[in-house]
């Protein structure tokens, strides 16, 4: 029988912090002996399985507690041990990623987001997260709350978010369902982010039928802060009060974390209450109040409430500090009456934070939240027991140790089997000679420019506020990565999100190395130095050995490239179970390890834009020309060849090529740089001309098939332009650095000419390119 003080028995007095003094050993003893009251029935194995726990996990819980959990406790374990919170099927491999770097202030997993030193006392924290499963069911709220969640991860550390990006993947754009998803997701991201007031400075949108059921919504945010003012997600100091701040707690998103760890099926619509509802205005208030709080000494620790709400934040903060907490759920402001204890504990209502306050500084905190008209309720106290104790209506409804609940503590860690799928070796056998070169390449060019994966994404991007904050340097000077001005300094940040999931499917290891390399290429082409990455790993069912093989390969490829580019992994998230389950079985989405990279531009004079500047400027290819069309959009969509090898890629060559481009920018030898990516060289040239309606006159390489030269997606290539007066100096530099380079031709007033053949005027062709997505969506 639990030793109760009088205060514990008296609902009128509520709850008394005396219990904080009870020793740890007594507490553990008390968990074992806790009597389950009539209202709190013992959990059954069936319930456990219904909430996504495995039978062996249920046994493990009983062992930890020394008794059978009640329903509330089991619910807590089920969300904390869900894939979403525990990373139980991925953590073993995630730990192999490179985490160290010269500029890392906080390494992956230590706080809500990684923190990178950008010099001058400033630090940048940035992270990418998925909100795939909610978006599949309710695209508007799913995407909106994804934006809210990722931004909270940033400002809960005390950083002001300054830029966002997103990486979106949808199914066949001609399907009505896809249109519904695209419209909902884009509006959700826009409405939330526009109100919240952080610009979206870049992103990607990609269509492939594998995402028909299960779209991917990956949201990235970056913030800057005074490096010395970081707020930690750690609770400490027994006796310190624990506050919940922000929105009231409602019944939305209950079991959302467990839901995100399930397959999307026909019945998923029944999970609709698992989708959270967002309120960007509350988030904006919470942001301002939090940043005011960061300026004070009143805060011991702070964590946002994302997945698994109060449960996750109390257990993670307690486990991180080796402490416990006593929480009175009666004090949590709720949106609905008569909410049950487990509903309050598991609610994923948005725009809430858990704050551990320095005892004595309560008034400071309360005044700030009063100013911003936000809830700020003291709901509990830190203890030295390591035990979480939740009270409601004057009695304990759950008591359990914090450590076994969390990732890195006692949460399960699994090693999963993996096996190479049969298609892999088949794809590798792809031979370009089996594909006939089309006779009319102009027609191919037009096909490519109006393909949804190549065409302009402005129908999407114009629904986002890209200029609020007056720091987006890429609005008027387009660049491969989004460039964000750090006012009052000589620096800027460069950010990009990249992944070509077809490459990853063809070869997970190589494809993921390419995603890192492409991110770095975008940063370098914008004048930045790659600094660190965050990742969002979207895969199928981890219990499917072939899906897990994708995951393992991706980790290996990412590690190799991150080591080469000196870009440690600062954090991110893993989203498994991205697939549709049909009568025929599971169909995973293309494996999609999205890379979000941060780069630093040390000197704003050295930013670089991607657009042609002047008729007559010379166009050079930097990097090797290779006869390759593997996994290109051209091969996939024009020829309908769905299985082929990943494109040509050599990590060492890529790195050397990027070093060469860095030098060209630093020595002011070029006036534009654009990486050669999806759609190949022709698309790259066209995109460079768009801003000013300028064209190009180029000659291809007679040693290489013309279609491969124009539309192949071999990696390691960048196009640059320069004034002919700098040609000599440029050539001297390039010869010295030893990277292959080729003069392609020159910029024209608007005509596109390839090997003396007229490919139309930019101004004429652009309408198909500009309007394709709008046509598809209307």
């Amino acid at each position: 029988m639990l030793k109760k003080s009088n205060a514990f028995r008296s609902p009128q007095k509520g709850f008394n912090y005396l219990c904080a003094r009870i020793s740890r050993s007594n507490r553990i003893d008390s968990i074992r002996k806790m009597e389950v009251t009539k209202k709190q029935e013992l959990a059954t194995l069936e319930q456990a399985q219904e909430l996504g726990l495995l039978p062996e996990e249920f046994d493990q819980i009983k062992e930890i507690l020394g008794r059978t959990p009640n329903f509330t406790e089991m619910s807590i374990f089920s969300v904390m041990w869900s894939e979403h919170c525990s990373y139980k099927n991925s953590i073993k491999w995630l730990k192999t990623l490179p985490k160290d770097g010269p500029h890392m202030l906080v390494e992956a997993g230590e706080e809500n987001a990684g923190l990178v030193d950008i010099g001058g006392g400033l630090a940048c924290c940035f992270k990418i997260e998925s909100h795939n499963h909610p978006s599949a069911l309710e695209p508007y709220q799913g995407a909106a709350t994804g934006v809210g969640g990722i931004n909270r991860d940033i400002f809960t550390m005390g950083a002001r978010p300054i830029a966002q990006l997103n990486s979106l993947r949808f199914g066949d754009p001609s399907l009505p369902k896809t249109k519904w998803l695209v419209k909902g997701v884009v509006k959700g991201i826009g409405d939330y982010g526009n109100s919240f007031g952080v610009p979206i400075v870049g992103g990607e949108v990609f269509f492939d039928e594998s995402y028909n059921t299960n779209p991917l919504v990956n949201a990235f945010s970056a913030g800057i802060m005074d490096a010395s003012k970081m707020m930690s997600a750690t609770a400490s100091g027994p006796g310190n009060p624990v506050y919940i701040v922000g929105s009231s707690t409602g019944k939305d998103g209950i079991h959302g974390a467990a839901f995100a760890s399930k397959d999307i099926t026909e019945d998923s619509v029944n999970d609709l209450p698992s989708v959270q509802v967002g309120d960007p205005f509350q988030e904006k208030l919470l942001l301002e109040a939090t940043l005011e709080l960061a300026e004070t000494d009143a805060v011991v620790g702070m964590q946002d409430m994302g997945a698994a709400g109060i449960t996750c934040s109390t257990s993670e903060m307690s486990a991180a500090g080796g402490v416990g907490m006593i929480i009175d759920l009666d004090k949590v402001p709720t949106r609905q009456e008569n909410m049950k204890d487990w509903e309050i504990l598991l609610s994923e209502s948005q725009e809430r934070m858990l704050v551990v306050v320095e005892k004595g500084a309560e008034a400071v905190v309360e005044a700030i939240f009063e100013k911003w008209d936000l809830n700020c309720e003291e709901i509990g106290v830190v203890t030295d027991t390591g035990i979480l104790e939740f009270w409601m209506h004057g009695e304990i409804c759950a008591t359990l140790p914090a450590e076994p609940l969390v990732l890195g503590g006692g949460a399960p860690v699994y090693e999963r089997e993996y096996s190479e799928p049969a298609y892999y070796s088949e794809f590798k056998k792809f031979d370009i000679s089996t594909v006939e070169q089309p006779s009319d390449l102009k027609e191919v060019a037009e096909f490519m420019l109006s393909h949804p994966n190549i065409a302009s994404k402005k129908w999407v991007s114009e629904q986002y506020d890209s200029m609020v904050g007056t720091a987006n340097m890429s609005t008027n000077a387009p660049s491969d990565a989004g460039l964000v001005n750090i006012k009052g300094t000589n620096k800027a940040l460069a950010m990009t999100v990249d992944c070509n999931s077809r490459y990853v499917h063809a070869d997970p290891e190589k494809g993921t190395s390419i995603a890192v390399a492409e991110s770095a290429r975008n940063i370098v082409c914008s004048g930045g130095i790659p600094s660190a990455i965050t990742n969002c790993l979207n895969f199928g069912n981890p219990y499917n050995p072939e899906s897990y093989w994708h995951f393992v390969g991706a980790i290996k490829g990412m590690s190799a490239a991150c080591i080469k580019f000196s870009t440690p992994v600062t954090g991110g998230n893993v989203s498994f179970y991205n697939q549709s389950v049909t009568d025929e079985g599971e169909e995973p989405v293309l494996p999609t390890p999205t890379i979000g990279m941060l780069g630093v531009v040390e000197n704003k004079d050295q930013t670089m834009s991607m657009n042609f500047k002047c008729k007559g400027d010379l166009i050079f290819l930097i990097g090797k020309a290779v006869e390759d069309i593997g996994s290109s959009e051209y091969l996939y969509s024009y020829h309908g060849v769905k299985g082929s090898s990943a494109p040509y890629f050599d990590l060492e060559e890529e790195f050397a090529m990027q070093e060469a481009v860095k030098g060209l920018i630093q020595n002011k030898l070029i006036n534009a740089a654009h990486d050669c990516a999806d759609g190949g060289l022709f698309v790259t040239l066209f995109e460079m001309g768009l801003q000013e309606n300028l064209g190009f006159d180029v000659i291809t390489d007679s040693e290489i098939r013309e279609d491969a030269y124009l539309f192949g997606e071999a990696q390691g290539r960048v196009l640059v332009t320069l004034d002919e007066n700098t040609e000599e100096e440029f050539i001297d530099y390039m010869i010295e650095c030893g990277t292959p380079f080729t003069l392609l031709g020159h910029v024209t007033r608007g005509k596109m000419v390839v090997d003396e053949k007229h490919f139309g005027f930019v101004e004429e062709v652009r309408s198909g390119y500009d309007n394709k997505i709008a046509e598809l969506m209307n």
Partner: protein, 230 residues
Amino acid sequence: MKFGVVTFPGSNCDQDMIYVLETMLGQEVVNLWHKDTDLQGTDFIVLPGGFSYGDYLRSGAIAKYSPIMEKVIEHANSGGFVLGVCNGFQILCESGLLPGALLHNNNQKFICKNVFLKPESKTANLTKGLNHDKAYKIPIAHGEGRYFADKNTLETLASNDQILFRYCDENNLVNEDSNPNGSVENIAGICNEAKNVFGMMPHPERAADPELSNTDGKALFESVLGLVGA
């Protein structure tokens, strides 16, 4: 001139406005809070862009009841200068300081992009110093920016020289293609009859920093300050 920039809880362009006024134009700026009831001796009040109180009802509909707005309305009615940009323009219309209303864009979507503006009024402080033959490149970012007013109001606005800007193309031509949101007669901004209250949907403060490669918006502030020849 002492500027006062009002921060409503959901304002998100207040700091951008302050940055431009202080750093790009060297002006003294006081940041006013929506709960304040004192304009602290400021001469020129700016209501910045954003989502004042969330704007879930109708943009600017709640802001007009805020404590600071009582003082702003008094200030305006006694001849003091007020500029509302984007959400600020919506608030001025909701408050009755400017005629007309701002409806949902005709494509029912939020739109953020650079547009071109043709200055029209030769008597209003905000535009009189501008080059009326130039198309000014200034971004918009709004979901409810379609200016609407009845025929009589439009006639009055025109006859009193109260139309500040119309949306145009880069060659300064006002036509349907250059109208981004369906505003009546391509109207992007207006002022009141006394020409001390100005409202516009485009964001001049987003086009005033050379580091962002576009400073067309700076000229509007210079016009207000009389720094360019009238």
